[in-house]
Structure formats: C-alpha cells, structure tokens
C-alpha cells in the first residue's frame, strides 16, 4: 500500500501558478527523487507536504489517512496541522540549525518539548523519557559519524557536518516520510559526498524519502522512482533508469542535456561526484 498519496495539488502565489495539479504516490520504504530546473515547483511541492505552504486545492494522504483535503475544512485546523507535520521530516537546503544550541540539543529539543507536553497530561514519565531521548540522539549522531561533535555549536561545524546534524534532527522525531530540499546545494562541492553518503545509507535501510535534488548521478543510483517536473506539472515519472537515462519526453531530454553541459563545465554533478 502506498504510504504517501498526493492528488491534484494546485498552488498559486499571486498571479503565478506554481503547481498545476500534481499527483503521485510513494510506497513505504522507497525513495523518490524529484528533479527539474529551478522555478519548476519542486520546492513548493515539498513545502506543501510539510504544511509550510497551504495548497489551493488537493488531497494529501499518509498511510491511508487524509491529512489535507482542501474541500474539507475539518482537515485544515491550525491545531491539528502541527501534529500532521510530524508525519514528515524536512531537511532544508540551508540546514537551519538552531545556533544557540549544541548539536545534541538541536537533535533532542523538539522531542523533549513533546515529551514534556505528554508528561503534563499523564503526569510522571519525566526523567526516564528524557534519558531515552538523549540516548537515541547519540545513536543518531553515531550513524552520522558525529559522536565527538555532540557538545559543539553549529558555527563550529563545516557545512557538511551541519547538514548531517540536520538530518539527525529530522530523524529524531521518527517521521513516516523524510523530505530533502536540495540537501547539497548550499555545500562546497567537496562536502556534498559526506551528505549524499548518509542519505544513501538511509535508503539502504529502507527509509521512505522524497528528495529534491540536482545531483543526477545520485538520483539515478539511490532513488526507486524519479519525477521530472517542469512549469508546475509532472512531465515524466518512472524508474530512474528510464527517466534519467532514457527519457521519453522531449522536455526531459532538453533539461538533462542542458544539465549535463553545465555539469561538464562546472564541478561534479552529472558523471562526476564521488560518494
């Protein structure tokens, strides 16, 4: 059964229609890569999934439950939206770590706040819960290869390290679906490898993921499905070996050609990329 079902999402900002009826679904344990040029609506789609933008129309279902149906006002109450966000994790392009907290606290903060709210209701819990949250955070840091950075502050880390902390922070809340918004675009080329390696290991563990990316070679290797978006619509969707290596649509071909040219002129990207 599909864990994520998205139907007919529309979104406009002023006069610009950014999403023009996006429909797709994703199976549990699979990784979906969304590719396309900037301005194609990829990031807006991801932000709609995380309730950072409200679609003008459309339905979002997770595990069969309707999270958002724009024709049903009961699914749009502010108080519930907060809980619904927890189905999704989001890793931002610019990390957005909290600068005043240590790496460890960045990862545990949200879980601690949730645990305290629940403890207030039930009374009890408390210390044991907090210890467990910290233990889990250390496990995540170990996975990210950052155990020795637990007490560091974000500004003391490299971009790649910061992004790995951001991934741990998102994972700490056990989201059903983990979203990445161009996770390596803000990184120096030599730092993208360490982040892509982490995402790759998550794919190997069958983490359900939606990844907006410009790293074509990475998308082809890691994703189970690829969606190519252009001008607010899904132009082509399918297995990566089809969409990326043998695109059917002219628009996809043009994008990939333009992309491989740019990549050949610049660093890394299409055929390069060591990860």
């Amino acid at each position: 059964m599909a864990i994520l079902e998205v139907e007919h999402i529309f979104k406009r900002f002023g006069d610009t229609e950014v999403l023009k009826g996006i429909t797709f679904s994703l199976e549990q344990g699979q990784a979906l890569a969304i590719i396309g040029s900037s301005g194609s609506g990829k990031t807006t789609l991801l932000r709609c999934l995380n309730f950072l933008e409200k679609p003008d129309a459309g339905i979002i279902r997770v595990g069969g439950n309707v999270l958002l149906d724009t024709s049903d006002p009961t699914t749009q109450q502010e108080a519930q939206i907060r809980k619904k966000r927890l189905h999704f994790g989001l890793v931002f392009q610019s990390f957005n770590l909290f600068p005043q907290y240590t790496v460890l606290k960045n990862i545990t903060l949200a879980s601690e706040l949730l645990a305290k709210e629940q403890a207030d209701r039930k009374a009890g819990a408390g210390k044991a819960a907090l210890q467990q949250i910290e233990a889990e955070a250390y496990t995540l840091l170990e996975q990210m290869g950052l155990t020795e950075k637990a007490r560091s502050y974000p500004h003391q880390l490299s971009g790649g390290q910061q992004q790995r902390v951001a991934i741990a922070r998102a994972l700490a809340l056990h989201p059903s679906i983990l979203c990445f918004d161009e996770p390596t675009s803000a990184l120096d080329p030599e730092l993208t490898g360490e982040v892509l390696r982490v995402i790759r290991s998550l794919a190997a563990k069958k983490t359900t993921m939606v990844i907006v990316t410009h790293e074509m070679a990475f998308a082809r290797d890691v994703a189970d499905h690829v969606i190519f978006m252009d001008d607010g619509v899904i132009v082509e969707a399918g297995r990566p070996e089809d969409v990326i290596s043998n695109p059917r649509e002219e628009r996809t071909r043009q994008f990939l050609q333009r992309f491989s040219k740019e990549a050949a002129g610049g660093q890394g990207g299409w055929d390069g990329g060591d990860f």
């Binding site: 950072l52 907060r82 600068p99």
Partner: protein, 220 residues
C-alpha cells in the same frame, strides 16, 4: 574644603533623581516597547498604521517638548491636574514622557531584531512540530537578544544623559542643582557633573561588554 564635600554631597543627592528616572524608565519602557513592536508588525493593518504613526510622532519630536506637553497639556485642555502640584507630580510627568519616548525607540530595535531572524529558523521549528509560543521562546528570543544588544546598549546609554532633560519641568536633577552654584558664581560644580555621568555610563559599558561576551558562544 568643607564646601567641596558639601557640594559634592548635594550633587550626589540630586543625581539620585537621574538614577531613579533611568531605572524606572527602563522598567516600564522595555516591556512596553515589545508590545509596541508587536503592534507595528501586526497583520491587522489599522493597528500597524496606528502604531507606526505613534512611533513617527514620538521619534519625530524633541523629548524635551514631549515632557512639557505631557506635564502642561492636561491642565490646558481642562482635564484637571493629574500630576498634582508637588515634586512627585513633576517627576511622574517626566517619567511618563520618558517611558513613551523610549518604548518607541526600543520597539524599533526589537522589530529589526525579530525581523532579522531568518525565516528558516521558524520553519525549522514548525516542521519539528513546535507551537508558535515554543518557537518564540525556545528559538527566536535568544537570537533576537544577541542581535539587539549593541543597539540597545547605545539607546540605554543615551537615556542616562537624557534624564537631565527632566529639569525642564523643574525636576531638580544634577545639572539643575549645579547651576544653582553657577548662579552664585561657582562654575566647577557644573563641570564636575560630567564625572557622575561618565562613571555611570562606564559601569553600563562594562555590563554590556560582559553580556556580549556571555552570548559569544554562538553565532546568529
């Protein structure tokens, strides 16, 4: 020599009024400024417009004039004498004028601080399921404090010296006191008031430097 210590003692006594005005203005203007800054950032347009007009008027006119208006206007408008007749009334009127004036300046500093925090910080809190209140107190506030500390220090140091404006409605602060000696032909007491202000501002500067160092552990 006896004269010297008597005069210094009386200057010190009158400087107490400057100190009182300083601390009470801070006590009320710091929180009021936050309220005003929320008003000017409100999505309810009429409230934002009203607040911005108020800030424009208060920042656009001399504090000395505001003190005079606050003290005399109620009587001239036939609203009676809310300030009473004694020294306490004159002090209260000056305090009200100072609080309104400084709250408006503080509100602009708060606003720039709050709006300067990248939107991604709030969004990161949102996707982690935090409430608006949690996001403000756990994420935004500390970063705002760090950002606004230098401009706040500036404004607060200005306040120290502005307290001498209270004399315009005969609050007997240190410079007014010193001028009584000038009238008697003794000039050094007036010049010596500078030392009081310098000492006070010196202590404040040390305090703000210490606070800035305290917040040096992170970058925002």
């Amino acid at each position: 020599m006896n004269d010297f210590s008597v005069i210094i003692g009386r200057l010190l006594e009158s400087f107490w009024l400057n100190c009182e005005l300083f601390f009470l203005t801070l006590l009320f203007a710091l929180p009021l400024g936050l309220v005003i800054s929320f008003g000017s950032m409100s999505r309810f347009k009429p409230l934002a417009a009203f607040t911005k007009t108020l800030v424009w008027i208060v920042r656009g006119t001399p504090l000395m004039l505001q003190v005079i208006i606050i003290f005399f206007a109620p009587g001239l408008l036939g609203w009676g004498t809310p300030w009473g007749t004694g020294a306490d009334g004159r002090f209260a009127a000056a305090l009200v004028a100072f609080v309104i004036n400084y709250a408006c300046y503080f509100s602009e500093i708060y606003r720039s601080g709050i709006q300067g925090i990248p939107r991604g910080q709030t969004e990161a809190g949102q996707v982690l399921g935090m409430t608006r209140t949690q996001i403000f107190f756990r994420i935004t506030l500390m970063q705002v404090i760090k950002r606004i500390l230098p401009p706040m220090a500036n404004e607060i140091i200005t306040l120290v010296k502005d307290t001498s404006l209270a004399r315009i409605i005969s609050n007997k602060e240190i410079i007014m006191m010193a001028q009584e000696y000038t009238a008697k032909g003794l000039i050094w007491p007036l010049f010596s008031t500078a030392v009081f202000f310098l000492a006070f501002v010196g202590i404040l500067t040390l305090l703000f430097n210490w606070l800035e160092k305290k917040l040096d552990y992170f970058k925002a």
